[in-house]
Amino acid sequence: MDLISIIGNAGTGMSAFRAQVATASNNIANANTPGYARQTAVLTETIPEEDAGTAGFIGRGVTLQGVVQSRNQFIETQLNTAFANSARSTAQSDALATVTALDPGATGGITDALGRFYASLRDLNQNPGDLSLRQAVVNSTQAVSTAFNRTAISLGSARTGIDEQLTVLVDKVNSIAASIAELNGKIALAVNSGRTPNDVLDVRQNLIDQLAQLIGARAVPDTHANVSMMLPGGVCLVSGSVAAKLGTQASSANNGHLDLVYTPTDGSALVSLKPGDLGGQVGGLVNARDAILGKAESDLNTLAYDFVTAVNDQSRLGYALDGSGNHDLFAVLPDATNAALRMAVDPTTYANPSFIAAAADPTSGPGDARNLQAMIATENTKLSGGLNVQDAMAKVTSDYGIAVAWVNDAAEFDRNLLTDLTTARESASGVSVDDEMTSLLQAQNAYNALVKVVAISSSMLDELMQMF
């Protein structure tokens, strides 16, 4: 091998080590960039060309083979699901944390008001002809109605609040899906021309993570370097470089709450997405809105309807102070639809408490409280669910409590799993500044040594030249 070639080889090596320094410095700079995967400059020895006869081959130094990303596809696939699950349960847990409508021990809550309602009937039993006690019954009937109204409003507004969040999230989903579709196009172009656009891949990966968190979309890579995004129900949100659009639409079957609709990528008609089609934050919020808050709301409506009907049925059998019959204590509810919201005192009785039907006989005096006692006994009447009013209320509370507690537990579990997986991803793909410093020093030492090689070779060349 000639001295000129040695200097040339050292130069190639120096540029390889410069690339290593540049890669390490890029890594250090991006140590905290979300979605960034550590890059490594891969150095490889140059294939020896010179045959040194029987002594074998003499190597020709080192070259930069390429810069690669460190990503563990196994972890990435699991992370995709973990992001979606954690976002789903956390969104539910957060949405439900602020709902205080069914808190036990709340003064003015349904439980409290039910207790006071029956207590006021018992007070009236003491002196059924007394108008001030009758007024007290009307007041407690009003109070129990208001307690149901307030709880229904509180549950309803929590659901409406979720609708507002959904509108914002859907916009975000659309914009991210569009970006992924666009990046798919760019990446496919670069890959097909033989290069790997590491930094664009990082950006896309970051968007994929976000979309998984938002709506539980799963990433499905294809052979052309595209990543398609599928919703949990199999609906395709991003296909190659085309993104579908999601929208919202008020559902009359669900008290005007918003349904998610999807405009398919092929331009066909709008499709309404079912709760099972959705995951992530959006899926969690829809579940909290319909399966948890919606169920509590509908249970409460059934309870309100049954309770009002049981009390009214008994009330109609009795007689008012003037001997007239067929009076209601609560305003009649036609069915359970929004019953808790519509519960109120019967307007006639509200205006004139003497119409409270305490007597069992139209001709008996004002002291007759036999029908009132039968109305007190409605506290033990089995309602449609086979439970009396207080047990039914307890069931509404515990069903709701168990659902929320389960969501909270799931949120913690999912968060822990996500933490484990992000740690694993960080371990595989994250930047360790210490590692990069070591790599920098290693490259620096090698570079310095190669400079010496050039100097020595050059001085050898000088010596040679001076012979002439």
Partner: protein, 296 residues
């Protein structure tokens, strides 16, 4: 395992969040005294608390009603006691002025006293408690006895709960006790008869009333015994219902209230954990190769 700086930061954040979360929870329990704020905190306790809250209100209402019934019976008993005294006085008058040694004038002046006794009894029979005529049956908003001694009430017997769903009669029927309805002696008629016999100077008629007043005294005594027994039953009901209500309060407390000792212990341990987490984080974060390399 490769450990990067970001992992250290992330795990520090996660641990600090967990420690701060525990700290906030314990602090909240200690300061509010409430363990179960939302149904999700303890669904079973939250559900049971519904029953105990309603039961407690029910027992308090039963205690309240029974107390009022007992008070009312006390008023009735006092009225009957006075009516018994009146009957005794009428008996003395009948016995004394039945003796024919008294002349028409003496008997006429005694008749005035008997008129007074009659008015007193009417007044007592129209006794009220809480705006109700207590001897009127269901017809308790009108005075049951008029000046002529006619009864305008009915035979309705008021009942009041002594325990939830269990009713006991809480009124006395003056129509039976004083008017002798159903086979007894009508005290008001007997007083009217005695006054008339005195005015007529009718010794035979006066002496004939002695037996009537003896019967009336027995009727009133029986009535007072009934009142006393019912009053005792209601007093016992008050005690029982109040005890049950406070029992419900204790159960509610056990379900929903924070165990302050336990919460305070957890508060202390959460503080300790947070401070340890912070100290550990500070130590780990200060370790970096960058700091150890000599400047060249």
């Amino acid at each position: 395992m490769r450990v990067t700086e970001k992992m250290i930061f992330q795990s520090t954040i996660a641990h600090m969040e967990a420690a701060r979360g525990n700290l906030a929870q314990a602090q909240n329990e200690v300061s509010s005294g409430v363990r179960v704020q939302h149904p999700a905190d303890d669904p079973v306790a939250a559900a049971l608390s519904v029953g105990h809250t309603v039961d407690r209100a029910r027992y308090l209402a039963v205690a309240n009603a029974a107390q009022r019934a007992a008070d009312e019976l006390g008023v009735a008993d006092t009225a009957l006691g006075t009516i018994g005294n009146v009957a005794n006085r009428a008996l003395s008058v009948a016995t004394q002025f039945g003796n024919d040694s008294y002349n028409a004038e003496d008997r006429a002046s005694a008749a005035v006293e008997v008129d007074g006794l009659y008015d007193q009894v009417i007044g007592l029979l129209n006794s009220q408690y809480d705006g109700r005529y207590i001897f009127a049956g269901y017809n308790d908003k009108t005075a049951p006895f008029d000046g002529a001694g006619d009864y305008h009430g009915d035979d309705g017997v008021r009942t009041v709960e002594i325990s939830p769903g269990l009713y006991q009669s809480a009124s006395l029927n003056a129509n039976v006790i004083v008017k002798g309805s159903g086979g007894g002696v009508d005290m008001l008629q007997a007083l009217k008869d005695l006054a008339a016999a005195l005015r007529n100077n009718d010794g035979e008629g006066i002496r004939a009333k002695v037996g009537d007043f003896n019967t009336v005294i027995t009727q009133v005594t029986v009535g007072r015994t009934q009142a006393g027994m019912a009053q005792n039953a209601f007093q016992a009901a008050v005690t029982t219902a109040n005890a049950a209500a406070s029992d419900e309060r204790v159960k509610l407390g056990k379900l929903l209230d924070a165990d302050i000792l336990d919460a305070a212990t957890r508060l202390a341990s959460a503080q300790y954990a947070l401070s340890a987490t912070l100290a550990a984080a500070a130590k780990t974060m200060s370790l970096s190769l960058v700091d150890k390399l000599p400047n060249r």
